[in-house]
Amino acid sequence: MTAALTDPTTLSSSHRRIDAPKPRHATLTGWGRYPLSESDIYRPEKIAELQAVITSNATSLIARGAGRAYGDAALNDQNRVVDLTRLDRMLSFDPGAAILRCEAGVTIAEIIDVFMPRGFFPPVTPGTRFVTLGGSIAADVHGKNHHRDSSLASHVTSFDLMLASGEIRRCSRNENPELFWATVGGMGLTGVILELEIALRRIESAYLDGELIRAPNVDAAIEAFERTDAQYGYSVAWIDCASSGSALGRSVLNVGNFATLDQLPEKLAQDPLNIMPRLSPIVPFNLPGFTLNSLTVRAFNAALYMFHRDSAAHMIFDWDRFFYPLDSIRNWNRIYGKRGFVQYQCVWPPEESRAGLIEILEAIAGSRRASFLAVLKKFGAQDGLLSFPMPGYTLALDFPVTDGLFDFLDSLDAMVLKRGGRVYLAKDARLRPETFRAMYPNLAKWQQAKAVADPNDRFSSSLSRRLGMDPA
């Protein structure tokens, strides 16, 4: 335990000193179920327990939230993991400023449950609501409104970070700004985020007013994004990776804004903030590997495209189906069978996006590896030193782990890198260190901040070791 805790934001003397709780030794994976890792996992229920976990032992430690990073970001093979899900208390809410202060284990789903009926929504949400806020800051997650509102961390006004010494540092754009920008997107390697302040968005209803737009090829899809950009705060496209030739990149765009009361039909306007709990189907076991082969994926994607019609006019969407189509199937990660899957998400600068997209879609079509779900999205600006987003277009794909897959993804990396793009660490399980260094030009600057915050390199993960992120 650090003797001199003089910083005013360190643990107040009213916290009792506690021994580190017992760990559980278990096998962990990310959401992609690849790779497997074995760790001692701690799950503190009090701040002082967390402090004891961090300071009682010099072995490497990484914080883990809801375990929704796909690859090895929240894994620490043969080392320690601290699960933050029990530190999930909401501490204050100012309805005037719409500012929530809460612990980092609070999830987006909990914010929706508590605040949507009161007319507030998370400012940014990834494609699943079952992520913690701490993890969201560490991965600097984006949502369907990135082109307009940037990432979730852009709406976080400050957070408290527990360092390897057990001390707590308040970080914001004005206070400890180097540490703030190294922690946003810093993959948990600067310390453990304890609590934070986030500005919620005011909404009039739990519905979205928007459109479905069919785009017959890549150019039409990009044109549709550019055309609807100013009008809609939220936009995303499902893209058919199994198509080729003149239909290469055919997509269905879903765009929308939260509906105002006067946009709602009368029946919905009577109870506009009813969040309607739904039943979630569950994938009860790993489906056999052949369930999703290139044929079924091809058929599924073709059917998805055929079934969607251009919405002639505006449509009203439920919030949960608009934002979280996959959350309705709770364990959808099991559909890829027991070898698991990897997500591949990349981004290109604006001037390279069209060519980059065509190049990758052609490579996929040529490889006969069809991605079951592929998503296209336009990004805006981003600030964290290791943040993934940059202005341009991003494509997210998933592939079941099969022989030869990683060689194929290496070839995609080369295409992305050549055009000045990069891949998303929160989804990665296989990027090579030299490619990573070339894709993230601010790495050296980040490493300086990391060395100051964590001089003995207490915080590291399977991901940070694989990519050689830690300062030498």
């Binding site: 009213s14 709780p21 017992k22 799950r43 229920e45 208390r89 909401m90 501490l91």
Partner: protein, 245 residues
């Protein structure tokens, strides 16, 4: 508005239970050893349920402080309609087997401290001839096991204490409910081998609250532990002493 004192409020089950009471509009005093943690739980209840909750600190084994503490809590609440006893600790099971101080500490933290606090609160409720006491016990109190009999004996004694109190307070219209918890996914079971049939703390709180609303007297949470423990109690001692769990 019900005025309720929750003792050991920072445990995950107590926290979930506090929320259930708060959603129903109760006024809460959340007490725990750690003042700062108790305050965080109170803030959480306040944000989620939209009702203010008080918080404070108490020490289960500082018996001399209990009278003043219960008066203080009742004062702050502006009355007292119910007490929920959630504190307790497994302690150091191995040390408790050979070190009398460790054994007595476990007994005091789980039983003696609760007896002291419940007796003080019961006096108040008996006088006003209304109210309730919920005691969170454990299935470990149903039969002594080689591994955790010190903790088990404290929880068993607590159940018998609550049983007698229930009889005495019945004529005063005070409801005493004993909850026998099976394995719940908390710090107590985290990392223990062989923890089976574990339920999340929020589920344990839901079941406890539902039983309370039905004015149940003794409830196993979840219900199937009643049958498991019935079977375990039936095993003859000669065999049971060789069982390893």
């Amino acid at each position: 508005m019900q005025k309720i004192l929750i003792l050991g409020a920072t445990s995950p089950i107590a926290r979930a239970l506090a929320l259930k009471f708060a959603y129903d509009g109760a006024r809460l005093y959340l007490a725990a050893r750690d003042a700062s943690e108790a305050q965080r739980v109170a803030e959480d209840v306040c944000v989620r349920a939209g009702v203010a909750a008080l918080s404070g600190t108490f020490d289960a084994v500082d018996f001399a402080s209990h009278d003043k503490f219960v008066r203080h809590a009742a004062n702050e609440l502006g009355g007292l309609d119910g007490v929920v006893v959630c504190f307790g600790t497994l302690g150091d099971e191995e040390a408790a087997q050979t070190d009398p101080d460790a054994a007595i500490a476990t007994i005091n933290q789980n039983f003696t401290g609760a007896v002291s606090l419940i007796t003080l609160a019961a006096r108040h409720l008996e006088q006003q001839r209304s109210g309730f006491i919920i005691v969170l016990g454990s299935v470990a109190g149903d039969r002594g096991r080689a591994r955790n009999y010190v903790y088990g004996s404290a929880k068993g004694a607590l159940a018998i204490f609550a049983q007698g109190l229930r009889g005495r307070l019945a004529k005063s219209n005070v409801h005493v409910m004993t909850v026998k918890l099976g394995t719940v996914d908390t710090r107590m079971t985290w990392g223990r081998e062989g923890a089976m049939l574990t339920i999340p703390p929020a589920r344990a709180a839901d079941l406890t609250y539902a039983a309370f609303r039905k004015r149940r007297e003794v409830v196993y949470v979840p219900w199937f532990w009643r049958f498991i423990m019935a079977v375990i109690r039936l095993i003859p001692e000669r065999q049971f002493k060789r069982v390893k769990f």
